[in-house]
Amino acid sequence: MFDLTGKTALVTGASGGIGAEIARVLHGAGAVVGLSGTRTEPLEALAAELGARAHVLPCNLSVPEEVEGLVKRAAEAMGSVDILVNNAGITRDGLAMRMSDDDWQSVIDVNLTAVFRLCRAAIRGMMKARYGRIVNISSVVGATGNAGQVNYSASKAGMAGLSKSLASEVASRGITVNCVAPGFIETAMTGKLNDAQKEGLLRVVPMGRMGRPEEIASAVLYLASQEAGYVTGATLHVNGGMAML
């Protein structure tokens, strides 16, 4: 089950904890993977770890021209883009009253506008192939909200709406568009929290622990698989029960 042999997958934010794990899991299922991210070094390291079937595709998602070219470069390197995982995301947290326009806009640009551009570019090839899988990594806060994250939560809620609309547009062509919404996951992003903050967070997680990157990657693998062909416009929440949506 969940064999991706012969399929090609582009993963953005593959230099981060969750993105790298997604790339590992898709690669482990047999896919050719395109590793995208802003920092080249961790991508090179991951490609070396994976060995064959891994391509490094650096891209700064806050630069529109680079975003426009990424899918094309990926298709040239891998032959096609059958699976697109929009995992890259940034945070610029702060209370709304003190949030600058720049902090708002940069998060929307990378987390939402770049996702739209990558989807638009990727569905061209998917339409021709009559097959495609798009998996967008959103967040529990897109559904629940979170103080200090008006920009981030807006971008993630926007991503959910984008995914549903796009899913409707391309469903007849064998293309599915879904979201995976992580809760608290052990990554560099949550590593910055102090013990008291972590304790506070875990109080609202029935599972009583943080999630692991591989638990997000497994959900992505399912939605990227042939077997998930009848699932589209959905959000799979992977959050230890902290929000049962």
């Binding site: 061209r124 339409m127 391309v170 007849s172 062509r173």
Partner: protein, 77 residues
């Protein structure tokens, strides 16, 4: 038939999977050739690619039949 018409016909036949003789001057992509709205977008994008032209949305809306496509492209290419 002009070279442009031949190339347009080839795209239409390939994309919509219809018989060549069904693609007549007045054949409507949607009503006669079974295209849906997504097909018409894909056709326009295929024309743009094939002929290296840009077809704006308002012009694309006027391209309803095979004849419309050929005459628009003949003027634009």
């Amino acid at each position: 038939m002009s070279d442009i018409a031949e190339r347009v016909k080839k795209i239409v036949v390939e994309h919509l999977g219809v018989e060549e003789d069904k693609v007549t001057e007045t054949a409507s992509f949607i009503d006669d050739l079974g295209a849906d709205s997504l097909d018409t977008v894909e056709l326009v994008m295929a024309f743009e690619e094939e002929f290296g032209i840009e077809i704006p949305d308002d012009a694309a809306e006027t391209i309803q039949t095979f004849g419309d496509a050929v005459s628009f492209i003949s003027k634009a290419a």
